[in-house]
C-alpha cells in the first residue's frame, strides 16, 4: 500500500529574473514500511525532495499525498500539525536543543504529539539510559545522533526522514547508528527515507531513487538488501 505519492512535483526558486528548478516534474510512489534511499550528488535536489516530503517546504507545482492526505496546499499551522503527527526527522547535525537534557529533548515531543511514546523507553532502546540527565554537549556525535533517532521515533510518526544521518560521524559510528536506525524503524514498522550521497547506504535499501539535476533518473527496487554489517564501508 502506498504511503507517499509525488505527482508531477516541481520546486522552483526565484531570484530576480533567475529561476532555479530544484525539482522538475517529479513523480514517484513509496510503499508503507519500506526503507528508501534517495541517492544523488550535491545539488541534485534530494534535500529539496526530503524537505517537501517533511512539510518544511511546499511545492511550486504538483501534489504530494502522504498517508492519503494532500500536503501540498496546507497552511503553516496545518503543516506544523502534519510534522508533529506524521513525520520524524533525523538530521546530519542532530539538531538537539542544547539547553535541554537528553531526557527533556526526547520528552519534548510529548508537548505536541498525542501518540508520543515513552521518552525513557525510547532512550533505553537507543542504549543511553545512563545519560538521561546529560546535556547534548556532554555526549559524543554518535550518542547525540542516537538521541536524535529516539526523539524522532518518540513522536510515533508514520515516516522517518533522515538527511545524511551519518554524514557527521566516523564510519564505525556511522554503521552502528545506521544499524540502530534500521532496527528501530523495522521494530516500530516505520517507513524510512534516507537522503544521502553515500552509495554504500543504498545497498541496504528496499528502494533506491536516484536523483540528478532535479529529475528522477531511476527508481530501483532491491529484492535482497544487505544489512549494515554486510556492507563494505
Amino acid at each position: 500500500m502506498s504511503i507517499v505519492q509525488f505527482d508531477n512535483v516541481s520546486r522552483i526558486y526565484k531570484s530576480g529574473d533567475h529561476e532555479l528548478r530544484a525539482l522538475d516534474h517529479v513523480s514517484f510512489t513509496l510503499d508503507e514500511g519500506k526503507f528508501v534511499v534517495i541517492l544523488g550528488p550535491s545539488g541534485a535536489g534530494k534535500s529539496t525532495l526530503l524537505n517537501l516530503l517533511g512539510g518544511l517546504d511546499s511545492p511550486s507545482e504538483g501534489t504530494i499525498t502522504v498517508a492519503g492526505a494532500d500536503i501540498s496546499k496546507l497552511s503553516d499551522n496545518e503543516l506544523a500539525d502534519y510534522r508533529a503527527s506524521t513525520v520524524g526527522f533525523v538530521f546530519q547535525f542532530y539538531n538537539l536543543i542544547p539547553t535541554l537534557t537528553v531526557y527533556e529533548n526526547v520528552k519534548l515531543v510529548s508537548e505536541i504529539s498525542k501518540n508520543a511514546l515513552d521518552a525513557k523507553d525510547m532512550i533505553d532502546k537507543v542504549g543511553l539510559l545512563d545519560h538521561l540527565n546529560n546535556f547534548p554537549s556532554e555526549l559524543s556525535g554518535g550518542e547525540q545522533q542516537r538521541i536524535s533517532i529516539a526523539r524522532a521515533l518518540a513522536k510515533n510518526p508514520k515516516i522517518l526522514l533522515c538527511d545524511e544521518p551519518t554524514g557527521a560521524l566516523d564510519s564505525e559510528t556511522g554503521v552502528m547508528v545506521l544499524g540502530l536506525l534500521l532496527d528501530m524503524a523495522k521494530n516500530y514498522g516505520k517507513t524510512i527515507v534516507i537522503v544521502t550521497h553515500n552509495q554504500n547506504i543504498a545497498k541496504m535499501a528496499d528502494v533506491v531513487i536516484r536523483v540528478k539535476n532535479g529529475k528522477i533518473r531511476e527508481v530501483t527496487e532491491q529484492e535482497n538488501p544487505l544489512s549494515a554489517d554486510e556492507v563494505e564501508w
Binding site: S47, N51, G54, L56, D57, D76, N77, A80, D81, Y82, R83, A84, S85, F89, F91, Q92, F93, N95, L96, I97, P98, T99, L100, E104, K107, L108, V109, E111, I112, S113, N133, F135, P136, S137, E138, R151, K155, A168
Partner: protein, 795 residues
C-alpha cells in the same frame, strides 16, 4: 572594499546598529542637554547680573539708612559700590489683583536695570521704568500712565521705558510665591528725585492731617504744613524710606559684618546674594541642572555602553567565520581589528552627532524664552553654552565604543586562521544550582527552556533587566514627581493655608494700628524676621493662630497644636538639635541672644524656619512686628491703607503654580517618552539578539511540529518573566531615585514623597506594555523562520 563590507554588515545588523545609535543619541543628548542647561543658566544669568550690577550684599535696617551711613559703608576697603535702596510692593490702582515691586537705586551704582525700549535712566526723571514682560502682558505701552497705591498715597507716573532687571529676574511677590506670574506681578523703577517728591507729598499729607485734627481749617492746613516741613524733616523721612543698602563687594560675609559694625557701631542684618531669593533660586536651578546632568545621562550612557558590549560581543561571535575568512585570505590581525573597530567608531560618531543635535534641543526646551525656564526667569539673552568637560567625555565615549568593538573582535582573532574559521561554539551547558532543586524537574518544558536560556546568556539576561529597571525608574520617578508636586500643592492649598487673603504689613507699623486691622479682618497673623543660629541665617516665624487660618504641620503632614514653652525646628534645621535640647539664636539688627528649648519638628513649606507662638515670643521678650495677616475676606473687600504693603489672595497664589505644573508635566512627559524609548530599544535589541542566537533551536521546534504561535508564546513568556523581576526590582529603585531627586532638587521645600496608586499601576502597565510589545515584535519574526536554512549548518 572593507568599507563596503562595513556598510553592508551594518545593514544586515540594522536592528542592532540602529538601537545602539539610538541609545548613544539618547545618552549623549541627555548628557549634553542638561549640562548645557546649567552652563547656560550660569552664563546668561551671570552676564545679566553683571550687566545690571546685581548686588553681592544687601543690608537691612528697619529704621532706614542715612547718607552718612552709606558713605561709611562705601568707604569700607573692599566695597566697590554701594547705594541706598528701596524695594517695596505696591498695588496698581483700580485693579486689586495686579501689583508690582517699586525699586529705587539712589545713586544707580548697584542693582540697576537694562533698557529694552524707551528712554534711558534719568536720576531726575519723573517717569517710571516698567518691566517689559508685565507691560506686554497687560497691554501697557510707553507713554501710558500708571497709578500706584503707595501706603495710602496715589502715585501717578508716565511709563518712559521698558526694562529688565537682575534684581527681579525671578519676579516673586514674597517668599510664599514659588513661581512668577508675569501677568499679575511685575516690577518698576523710579528715580530718587521722584521718590523724594513722593516722600515730600506723603509728609505734607501727614502734617496736614495732624493740623486738621488739631482744628486748623483744611485750606489753611496745607499752607501751614508747607511752611512747617523743614529740610531736616524731609531728609529724615527720605532716610527712613531707604531700609536697604545694596553693595558690590568681594569681601566675605563675616568680614563685611565686622567692618560694618566697626564703621556704624551697630550690627546689621547682612544678606549675601547666596541668601537672596533671585540669585539663590537661579543658582539652585543650575545646581539642579548639574544633578540632572549627572544622573539621567549616566543611566542612559551606561545602558548605551552595556548594550554596546553585549551587542558587539554577539556580532563578533556571529562574524567569527567571516573574521576567519579574512584571516585565511591573508589580512593581518591589525587590519581586521581596525576594520571591526570602525563599527564602534561609526556608531559612536553617528550617535554623538545626533546626540549633539538632541542635546541642543533639550537645552533649548528648558533654557529659552519660550521654554520651561522662560516661565521662571525674565532676562534679555538666552544663549546656549556647553561646559568644556563635555567635549572630552563625548570623545571618550566614542573611543570607548571603538575599544569595545576592538576587544570583542580581538577575542575571536586568537589562535590560527583555522580556529577562527571554525564556527563559534557556545559554552557547554552545566547544571545550575537552581536545576538541582527538586521542583525544577517538575517544571514545564517552556519554563525549563527559558530558565536555562537565561542561565546560559547571563549578560543578555542582566542587560534586559537593566533596561526594564531603567524604564521603571524613569516612569516611577517621573510620575511620582508629579504626584509629589500635586500633593505638595494640595498641602499648600488645603493643608496649611485656610485663608482667602494674605495682607502684607508695612515694616514697623505701630502695633495698635495692626491690631485694629487684625480685629477688622478677623485675622490670624505671622511675623517673620531674620535670625542667626551660630552664624547660619534662618527665619524666625512667630505665629498667632487663634482662628486656625494657618497650620503648622509635622513630618506626616498632621497639624501641630503649637505649645507655648518652646520652638519647632523645620526639617532642614532638625539636625541642629534633638527634641528636648536647647538652641541659641540672635535676631539680626539686635544684640540679644535667646536660648530656647526645641519641642518639636515641623514641615516648613517655604522658609527655613524656627517657629514659635506669639505667647512664647512675648514671654521671652522678643521684639517683633507683624509681617502678614491672614483673613477669609476677599482682597477686593480690604481697603488699601498706609499699613498695607500688599495683598495676595490665595487663589492667585495657587494659580501662579499653573506654569510650574505645566513645566512639571512637560518633564514627566519627557521622562515617560524616554522610558518607553529606552525600554523598546534595549528590549528589542536584546530580543532580536536572543532570537538570532536561538534561531536554530526555534527552527528545530518548528520542524518537530511546534506551531509558530506556541513558539511565540515561549519567547514572550521569557519577556514576561524578566519584566516581573525588573518591575519588582525597579519599583523600589524608582522610589529611591525619586526620593534622592526630591531631596537634591527640591530640598528647599521639604516635600514629602507621595506616590499614588495610579503612578504604580501606570508604571507597571506601561513597562509590561513595552515588554509585551517588544516580545510580540520579536515573536512575529519566528513565523518567517526558514527551517531549512536555519538547520543547514553545524553548531
Amino acid at each position: 572594499m572593507l568599507l563596503r563590507k562595513l556598510l553592508r554588515t551594518a545593514w544586515s545588523y540594522k536592528a542592532q546598529f540602529i538601537s545602539m545609535i539610538i541609545m548613544m543619541t539618547l545618552g549623549i543628548g541627555i548628557f549634553l542637554g542638561f549640562n548645557m542647561e546649567w552652563k547656560t543658566i550660569e552664563y546668561d544669568v551671570g552676564k545679566f547680573f553683571e550687566e545690571t550690577k546685581y548686588a553681592d550684599y544687601r543690608m537691612y535696617s528697619e529704621s532706614g539708612f542715612t547718607k552718612d551711613d552709606l558713605e561709611k559703608i562705601a568707604s569700607i576697603d573692599g566695597v566697590d559700590a554701594a547705594t541706598r535702596y528701596l524695594s517695596v510692593n505696591l498695588e496698581i490702582k483700580g485693579d486689586s489683583k495686579k501689583a508690582l515691586t517699586l525699586d529705587v537705586s539712589e545713586n544707580y551704582s548697584v542693582s540697576i536695570f537694562t533698557l529694552i525700549s524707551g528712554d534711558g535712566y534719568d536720576e531726575n526723571g519723573d517717569g517710571i521704568w516698567l518691566s517689559d514682560k508685565f507691560a506686554r502682558l497687560n497691554n501697557i505701552e510707553i507713554g501710558d500712565t500708571l497709578t500706584l497705591e503707595f501706603q495710602g498715597l496715589d502715585i501717578e507716573s508716565r511709563v518712559v521705558g521698558l526694562i529688565k532687571a537682575g534684581e527681579h529676574m525671578i519676579c516673586l511677590a514674597d517668599s510664599n510665591q514659588v513661581m512668577p506670574d508675569f501677568n499679575t506681578f511685575g516690577y518698576a523703577y523710579i528715580s530718587p528725585a521722584k521718590l523724594g517728591a513722593i516722600i515730600r507729598e506723603k509728609a505734607l499729607n501727614t502734617l496736614t492731617d495732624e493740623l486738621q485734627k488739631a482744628g486748623v481749617p483744611a485750606d489753611m492746613a496745607k499752607e501751614q504744613a508747607e511752611a512747617m516741613l523743614t529740610d531736616e524733616m524731609l531728609t529724615e523721612a527720605i532716610d527712613k524710606s531707604f531700609p536697604q543698602i545694596n553693595l558690590i563687594s568681594g569681601l566675605g560675609k563675616s568680614e563685611l559684618e565686622e567692618a560694618v559694625k566697626e564703621k556704624l557701631g551697630r550690627t546689621l542684618m547682612v544678606v549675601s546674594k547666596d541668601d537672596h531669593a533671585v540669585y539663590r533660586e537661579a543658582m539652585g536651578e543650575a545646581k539642579e541642572g548639574k544633578t540632572m546632568g549627572s544622573i539621567l545621562p549616566v543611566l542612559f550612557l551606561a545602558i548605551a555602553i552595556l548594550t554596546m558590549v553585549t551587542t558587539m560581543h554577539r556580532i563578533a561571535t556571529q562574524e567569527k567565520t567571516q573574521i576567519g575568512v579574512l584571516k585565511a585570505l591573508g589580512f593581518k590581525n591589525r587590519t581586521i581589528l581596525l576594520h571591526y573597530s570602525f563599527y564602534g567608531l561609526f556608531i559612536g560618531i553617528v550617535g554623538a552627532a545626533l546626540g549633539a543635535v538632541l542635546g541642543y534641543f533639550v537645552c533649548k526646551l528648558i533654557m529659552s524664552e519660550n521654554g520651561m525656564m522662560g516661565t521662571y526667569f525674565d532676562m534679555p539673552d538666552w544663549s546656549a553654552a556647553t561646559p568644556a568637560f563635555c567635549y572630552p567625555i563625548i570623545a571618550g565615549t566614542v573611543l570607548l565604543l571603538a575599544l569595545i568593538s576592538f576587544l570583542s573582535v580581538r577575542a575571536q582573532l586568537r589562535g590560527t586562521a583555522a580556529d577562527a574559521l571554525r564556527p563559534y561554539t557556545p559554552k557547554k551547558m552545566k547544571k545550575s544550582v537552581l536545576e538541582k532543586l527538586p521542583f525544577f524537574s517538575k517544571m514545564r518544558f517552556a519554563t525549563k527552556w527559558n530558565m536555562r536560556d537565561l542561565m546560559r546568556h547571563k549578560s543578555r539576561f542582566a542587560m534586559t533587566l537593566v533596561g526594564i529597571i531603567g524604564c521603571m525608574i524613569l516612569l516611577v520617578g517621573g510620575l511620582g514627581m508629579r504626584d509629589t508636586m500635586a500633593g505638595f500643592l494640595d498641602l499648600l492649598d488645603n493643608g496649611v493655608s485656610h485663608y482667602a487673603t494674605k495682607v502684607n504689613i508695612v515694616e514697623n507699623t505701630e502695633r495698635e494700628k495692626v491690631d485694629h486691622l487684625i480685629a477688622d479682618l478677623d485675622a490670624d497673623w505671622e511675623s517673620y524676621s531674620g535670625i542667626s543660629i551660630d552664624g547660619y541665617t534662618a527665619t524666625l516665624d512667630i505665629v498667632h493662630n487663634e482662628n486656625g487660618r494657618l497650620s503648622v504641620i509635622d513630618e506626616d503632614n498632621k497639624e501641630i497644636d503649637l505649645q507655648n514653652d518652646g520652638v519647632y525646628l523645620c526639617q532642614r534645621l532638625s539636625d541642629r538639635a534633638k527634641i528636648g535640647e536647647y538652641i541659641e539664636f540672635s535676631p539680626y539688627g539686635g544684640e540679644e541672644t535667646y536660648r530656647v528649648k526645641v519641642v518639636g519638628y515641623n514641615r516648613s513649606i517655604m522658609t527655613e524656619s524656627v517657629t514659635m507662638t506669639d505667647k512664647y515670643a512675648d514671654e521671652l521678650g522678643i521684639k517683633y512686628s507683624v509681617s502678614a495677616v491672614y483673613t477669609n475676606k476677599d482682597s477686593s473687600d480690604i481697603p488699601s491703607s498706609d499699613l498695607i504693603s500688599g495683598k495676595q489672595d490665595k487663589k492667585q497664589l495657587m494659580d501662579s503654580f499653573g506654569s510650574f505644573v505645566q513645566i512639571m508635566d512637560s518633564m514627566v512627559l519627557i521622562l515617560v517618552v524616554a522610558a518607553v524609548i529606552l525600554g523598546i530599544v534595549v528590549l528589542y535589541n536584546l530580543g532580536v539578539m536572543s532570537y538570532v542566537e536561538r534561531s536554530r533551536e526555534l527552527a528545530t521546534l518548528k520542524v518537530l511540529g511546534f506551531r509558530s504561535k506556541k513558539i511565540g508564546q515561549l519567547l514572550i513568556s521569557q519577556n514576561v518573566w524578566l519584566t516581573v523581576i525588573g518591575v519588582i526590582l525597579g519599583m523600589p529603585a524608582g522610589v529611591g531615585t525619586l526620593y534622592w531627586l526630591i531631596t537634591a532638587l527640591a530640598g528647599e521645600y521639604e516635600m514629602k514623597l507621595m506616590l499614588g496608586p495610579l503612578t504604580y499601576s501606570v508604571s507597571i502597565l506601561l513597562t509590561f506594555g513595552v515588554s509585551l510589545l517588544v516580545g510580540w515584535m520579536v515573536a512575529r519574526k519566528n513565523r518567517k523562520i526558514d527551517m531549512v536554512e536555519a538547520l543547514k549548518n553545524a553548531e
